[in-house]
Subunit: 352 residues, 2 copies
Amino acid sequence: MWKMTSLTKIVGIQLPIIQAPMAGGATTPELVAAVSNAGGLGSLGAGYMAPAEIKQAIRKIRELTDKPFAVNLFIPETGQATANQMQHACDDIKQSCIELNIEIAPISEPYAQSFAEQINIIIEEKVPVFSYTFGMLDSAWISQLQTNHTILIGTATTLAEARMLEENGSHFIVAQSSEAGGHRGTFLGKAEDALIGLINLIPQLVTQIKIPIIASGGIMNGRGIAASLDLGAAGVQMGTAFLTCSEAGIPDIYKKTLLAQREDNTVLTRAFSGKLARGIRNKFIDRMGKKTTILDYPIQNALTIAMRKKAKEQNNIDFMSIWAGQSAQLCRNTTASELINALVIETQALYK
Amino acid sequence: MWKMTSLTKIVGIQLPIIQAPMAGGATTPELVAAVSNAGGLGSLGAGYMAPAEIKQAIRKIRELTDKPFAVNLFIPETGQATANQMQHACDDIKQSCIELNIEIAPISEPYAQSFAEQINIIIEEKVPVFSYTFGMLDSAWISQLQTNHTILIGTATTLAEARMLEENGSHFIVAQSSEAGGHRGTFLGKAEDALIGLINLIPQLVTQIKIPIIASGGIMNGRGIAASLDLGAAGVQMGTAFLTCSEAGIPDIYKKTLLAQREDNTVLTRAFSGKLARGIRNKFIDRMGKKTTILDYPIQNALTIAMRKKAKEQNNIDFMSIWAGQSAQLCRNTTASELINALVIETQALYK
């Protein structure tokens, strides 16, 4: 029975399917709750959200569902940028800002939300599942989350990272393969050196890590789910597939772009945030490919916020970050529950 | 019944498993015949072989088996190198040659075997299956192969390449994913832009290409086979898994290196041949990463032949091309028939 795995048993859900915690607005409370109501595990991508916004979103999710759900945060990183580098980085994105009719100027700290304030909300609200990306969780937080019986899900892109997360107290590990859309979760070594395909990463981890592994990267349909379970995963985490659901909070032009894909048009870029991420190639990525000054994450991310916001307002796909995995051409125009029902039928057919 | 697919039916084999045609000596007639005798499809990687050697190997295979087998050739490419570039390339590999105690000097044409002479052997010998890599086959050859009822297998790394091969008359397409070891088969655009994970590439092709797709890249065990078939493939092609079989013609130190892997230590490099290929990182790859002159394929390949030959003689792993896929840590020390029997048991267990 493919529907019962350690993921479904421990988390108390019906299906081994997690909707990925995509930060930046895609994972509305409506999407998260719809996925959980359909038997999967919805996840709020709260990495960029202010603490008050996280609290509000969690309460909204709880109004919409009584099922388990997850919230995800980014383990904090500090970048460095001299005034000179900051000016160069501004110069490099200036032309794009002019085309959007906005000003660009050097920015100062804070470059990201306060992690301590964010995670305090997770603890106060006794969130059922907490997933985290870009690193390890300090043991002080782990103790508090354990007291709440919060289930912990770390993110690894290599065996070495998975080992560290296992020792650190994660209950599950999301194994992010090279096919995945959005930011690479790599926290040991260079992200460019940690681009391992799903068909290798999952067997590599399941044979060497004791806690259950959740497959992520390029999974879009029943074939991908069945393949992941065959590889030994306890479940799947799917991001791009949920972006084109009606509940997802991304601009219509972003959805239309995904639905228009016929083959892989994604590239890996640091242009938007300073951190390597996979998205559909566009004017900004191409333009920044020729520039030399991309600031450290999260500084570059903070610097391009205004540009991306304006691009969204103007429905201008040239300057948005169109994060997507390599299988975006398999996106469907449905609701979240329709998608999940279809995934169940497709997977079931392969397990007959 | 997972063992019966369009691949087994059309080729007349028992199992949908192809042993990949790895050029450079790995695919001895003994390996090819052992795989075919065990119910799979053995393949001779003849890309670098002289026509007379190919003929001899085919005859030897036929002495050892009466089952179908495949021979693979490289579609020819012409590289360019000025005298100045040739000298720079020599300078860049000089230090490595000194350490091996050999001389390095500029080389001249021909840089590769004559394709016309090679394929004439395939035609004369009425080889049952002909697979080809690095491009399309001229229609004149296709007509002659069709007259012989030779089954044709092209190699694609993207949807666009698969479409061209389908229109060109291939009967099957090997879809080479980013995880694969050895040379990238990309022939449209840059190889760096065609690194698509298996979990994406196979569903992408099976939904848009009519002829059957064979999955390749990182498949090492029953989990990988079951996953590939779930993704819609008609079979799998496995290379690295067969390199550590006792019949494989690679140096012992190469086998030992593969068997000692615990995680992915592969990188993509042009250092050995001028064409992007995946192998285990070593001194030569690291050293060449800092050099600027790597000649076009096949010129760089011809230029480094002496160095690689000497490294093999000296059992010196630092200067060999240790081609391997991302899942090399799953290599086993067995015979080819033991490996195939194990693959059958493992796959069967997942289809219960």
